[in-house]
């Protein structure tokens, strides 16, 4: 019998919740651990580089990450995400309101 892999992949939605908003052409996504013990996994695996790859082709600028260990949360700034932002943008989500749940589609690895 084949050995089971030591890791399993889950969507971030199982470990975190999120809210997003806008500042000009930048969307922010606040990612919050559903349980304090998940926070380390978020810090280790949901890096700025990983999030930039996740949104590749959907945003034009870089991704910045800030840590809020007190709230078990990470804050991401997705630059150039909103087609100019605010009133200029032609997007349905001109204010970046649902980048939050788009980030929750990302998969992370957990030990079995």
């Amino acid at each position: 019998m084949k050995r089971r892999a030591s890791k399993r992949r889950v969507r971030l939605a199982q470990l975190a919740h999120a809210r997003s908003g806008d500042k000009g052409d930048t969307a922010n996504v606040g990612l919050i651990a559903l349980k304090p013990e998940y926070y380390t996994t978020l810090v280790k695996q949901v890096t700025a580089a990983r999030v930039a790859r996740h949104f590749k082709g959907m945003i034009r600028g870089p991704v910045e990450r800030f840590e809020l260990p007190n709230l078990h949360a990470l804050n991401f700034l997705l630059h150039g995400a909103l087609d100019g932002g605010g009133t200029i943008s032609l997007k349905t989500d001109a204010q970046g309101k649902v980048f939050s749940t788009a980030l929750l589609r990302l998969e992370v690895e957990l030990p079995r």
Binding site: G30, N70, G86, I88
Partner: protein, 465 residues
């Protein structure tokens, strides 16, 4: 007024959020003033674009330029507000706070509240008439995002306002104002000011000012911290139809609780408050306002009761010597058209229609700064992330949504005439054009900048009713 909680301790002040933006639930302020004891009602009306709309209204009629909805709303709550001694802070004044105050004073007189109401008016934020002088004196008002000087778009500027902080509102309260109507005062300042006033906080008490700023940020979007738009466990959030808007119970030491009136719906939880704290967040260690710099990485939250979250530990740093300025300028035109395609192959048909339309626009020689296509029901909100996990062949319907943007109105107008023909001369199974031809819209864009604080002088006047 609220009685002191416990014995001997300093009294808590209850500040209730009544509007999170212009267009928020009209019932909320009424429910806040009647649903239980509060000391202050805070209402936030101004988004970036709002100021340019109001500036346009004022240029047509000098008695306009404020949030008109505020007046009938005040008419409804004023009798309770006066009877219970509730004070109101609101940035409903837009670009004409004096006219807004006069309109509210007229309503108060009609309600026979003469002699019982003093209105404070905060101005000094409006820089439109001073722009050329500021530019001439070397204040370039460079765009915070692009670094370009304001002179690039000077001839297209429609509104320019500095963000004032809490202090002019405090001044009005100290001079006995019951209702304070402001122009562009920060959302957080409207909540912080009552705390400074009630507890006599000093201008350099940075931790306290930061705590009040965090309180303001928490309730400035109304029910978004009390169960609205809350992702955690959303299906089990009770009775959103009857949602309770948040109330800050502030204490002199800078700690506060987020609560709501008994018997209302929604939920106040650590998870929900955290969602609001990270909303529209930049660098969490430096949340900059005119009053202080708040450090959101110091905030401690705990569930202190049912629908009650305690906030403590907030640290702050000295305010900067700049004020943020929001300039609105004319950018160009845009229009968005939609059509709905039905099964089978709804997705493919919508894609095909997009290709056909783009070919026609190109052959017409129309030039656009941007053409943006979304397929609602498939990729509009999550883009390729959604398509990677979707069997598009089975979709029962897809809405094709195409937008264009251009500095030139004729190109945008011609685009709006190219949507309907697709119903008869494009891919099949198309419907949903009942709304008619889309309308070109003017784009008023937003230009954020900084200005030395010394260049802006807030002004406080009082209107006796």
């Amino acid at each position: 007024m609220t009685p002191a909680r416990g014995t001997g301790g300093p009294r808590a002040v209850r500040i209730a959020a009544g509007q999170g933006f212009w267009g928020d639930w009209l019932e909320a302020p009424y429910r806040q003033v009647t649903g239980g004891p509060i000391d202050y009602l805070m209402m936030d009306y101004l988004a970036e674009v709002t100021m340019s709309i109001l500036q346009k209204q004022k240029s047509r009629d000098p008695s306009l330029g404020y949030a008109k909805d505020f007046v009938p709303l005040m008419e409804r709550i004023l009798p309770t507000v006066v009877e219970r001694g509730i004070k109101v802070t609101a940035n409903a004044g837009g670009v004409n706070p004096q006219a807004c105050a006069q309109a509210v004073a007229d309503v108060a007189r009609r309600l026979k509240l003469g002699g019982r109401l003093r209105i404070g008016v905060v101005t000094g934020d409006d820089l439109l008439g001073r722009l050329d002088g500021l530019l001439a004196r070397g204040h370039e008002l460079r765009n915070l995002d692009t670094g370009r000087p304001l002179s690039d778009v000077r001839d297209r500027v429609l509104a320019a306002n500095a963000y004032l902080g809490a202090w002019p509102v405090v001044d009005a309260l100290r001079r006995g104002a019951d209702v304070v109507i402001t122009g562009r005062v920060t959302d957080t300042g409207l909540t912080l000011a009552p705390m400074i006033h009630a507890f006599d906080w000093r201008p350099d008490a940075w931790d306290l000012l930061a705590a009040g700023t965090v309180a303001g940020h928490t309730i400035e979007c109304g029910a978004q911290c009390s169960g609205g738009n809350c992702l955690v466990d959303w299906e089990r959030i009770p009775d959103l139809a009857n949602v309770g808007y948040p109330i800050v119970e502030a204490r002199p030491d800078g700690t506060f609780e987020i609560a709501k009136h008994p018997g209302t719906g929604g939920r106040i939880s650590v998870a929900g408050v955290t969602e609001q704290l990270v909303y529209e967040m930049g660098d969490p260690a430096a949340y900059i306002t005119p009053d202080c710099i708040a450090d959101f990485t110091t905030i401690r939250l705990e569930q202190s009761g049912k629908d009650r979250v305690r906030v403590s530990g907030v640290r702050g740093k000295p305010a900067t010597d700049k004020l943020k300025v929001s300039v609105a300028y004319f950018y160009g035109y845009k229009a968005v058209g939609t059509l709905v395609y039905a099964w089978p192959d709804a997705y493919k048909k919508a894609r095909a229609a997009d290709r056909v339309l783009r070919q026609r626009l190109e052959r017409l020689g129309l030039e656009f700064e941007a053409i943006h296509t979304e397929l609602l029901g498939a990729d509009a909100t999550h883009g390729r992330l959604a398509l990677e996990q979707l069997v598009v062949d089975d979709l029962p319907e897809v809405q094709l949504r195409i937008g264009v943007r251009s500095p030139h109105l004729p190109a945008v107008e011609r685009f709006t005439r190219e949507i309907a023909p697709l119903i008869l001369n494009g891919p099949p199974s198309v419907t949903g054009f009942a709304g008619g031809r889309p309308k070109p819209e003017e784009i008023v864009a937003y230009w954020p900048a900084l200005l030395d604080k010394g260049m802006v002088e807030p002004c406080v006047e009082l209107v006796e009713v």
